[in-house]
Symmetry: C2
């Protein structure tokens, strides 16, 4: 796996490549970018670029060894690692995310949610635990969590963020409309659906 | 209002400027970028750049006339126009969006949701209507809708999209993980929260 920056668009296509390579019965050990591109209705140049960013270039004439390519793509998505995620804030959005199955294809596992209005353990529709937020620190000390999703109102977001950071979470996705103060070692990504919609509205 | 492309980051700050200009009691008719920047803890260069993109440059020494600046910012967000939005798909995500209040500050009004599992009119927690999807076309013919949000599973997304486009919707935000076929006159924006999370995970 190469370490240079890979675009969001490329990352978005990796699950598609993986699905094709693993689900389709291939008659040969090797596969070419041309065949993959054709099967997935993608441009050949794009497929070559994506795969070379993630796995290195295929061999002339023979292309990629399928099993190696699958390993490279899986390693890239860190499917072999713990990619556990917690959500703080189990309102409608938090619960929607908790039960959303689309995270698995990127190797991400949302393991639990926490909410201040939950006093005793609840279960989501897909049987995932929703704990009281009072249990957050204890949970984080017992489990290795890679990403924390903040889905609480803006006025509680910093407090939640501080707890996550203090307990060792180094990547935070924030749905609250606020600006979080975090140490430089912590990555924060803001998701603002209202802003996306406003942006779409401006383009029209 | 200038017509060149304004960045997403600038659009994201407009509600903050508007709120400050409208909510704060100002002793003067005019206000400078310096004062705005200080009040909102923003860089002065950034404020000047934002305001000049939306409203033109302030006058030397006097700055901006507050009432004109408010009008420019409101016009920019099209607050004076109909910015009605419908959601198709009233699962957890659809309902979370329907009741989310953060859209108003961008002048966007989510007026109704539609779902195939809804047979008679339901109301959301914030009292917004959720209709059967069979009523979608009739609703669109009676109401001017600027944006359609697709929050149905991927395998129904194209069908929903076709209905929206046929009924005159020209901007679509799609939460389904698929690629939509639309005429060139229609803008589609894809929202993929799983991909955002995967991207955050790769950065760490």
């Amino acid at each position: 796996m190469k370490n240079f920056e890979v675009s969001r668009a490329t990352i978005g296509r990796i699950p598609m490549y993986l699905k094709y390579l693993k689900d389709t019965k291939h008659c040969t050990e090797n596969i070419s970018a041309t065949i993959i591109a054709k099967a997935l209705s993608l441009g050949e140049v794009q497929v070559r670029k994506d795969l070379s960013a993630v796995s290195g270039a295929g061999r002339p004439k023979t292309g990629y060894k399928i099993c190696d390519l699958v390993s490279s793509l899986e390693n890239f998505l860190k499917l072999d690692q713990n990619n556990n995620v917690v959500i703080v804030g189990a309102g409608k959005l938090g619960r929607a995310l908790l039960d959303y199955t689309g995270f698995y294809e990127y190797g991400l596992d949302i393991v639990a949610a926490f909410d201040k209005n939950v006093t005793k353990l609840e279960k989501s529709n897909s049987n995932k635990p929703i704990y009281s937020v009072d249990y957050l620190e204890e949970f984080l000390s017992k489990n290795t969590i890679k990403i924390g999703i903040i889905a609480v109102p803006a006025d509680c977001a910093q407090e939640v963020c501080d707890k996550l950071v203090l307990c060792g979470v180094r990547a935070i996705m924030c749905f609250a409309q606020c600006s979080l103060n975090v140490p430089k070692t912590v990555n924060v990504q803001y998701e603002n659906i209202a802003l996306s919609l406003a942006y779409l509205n401006k383009k029209n």
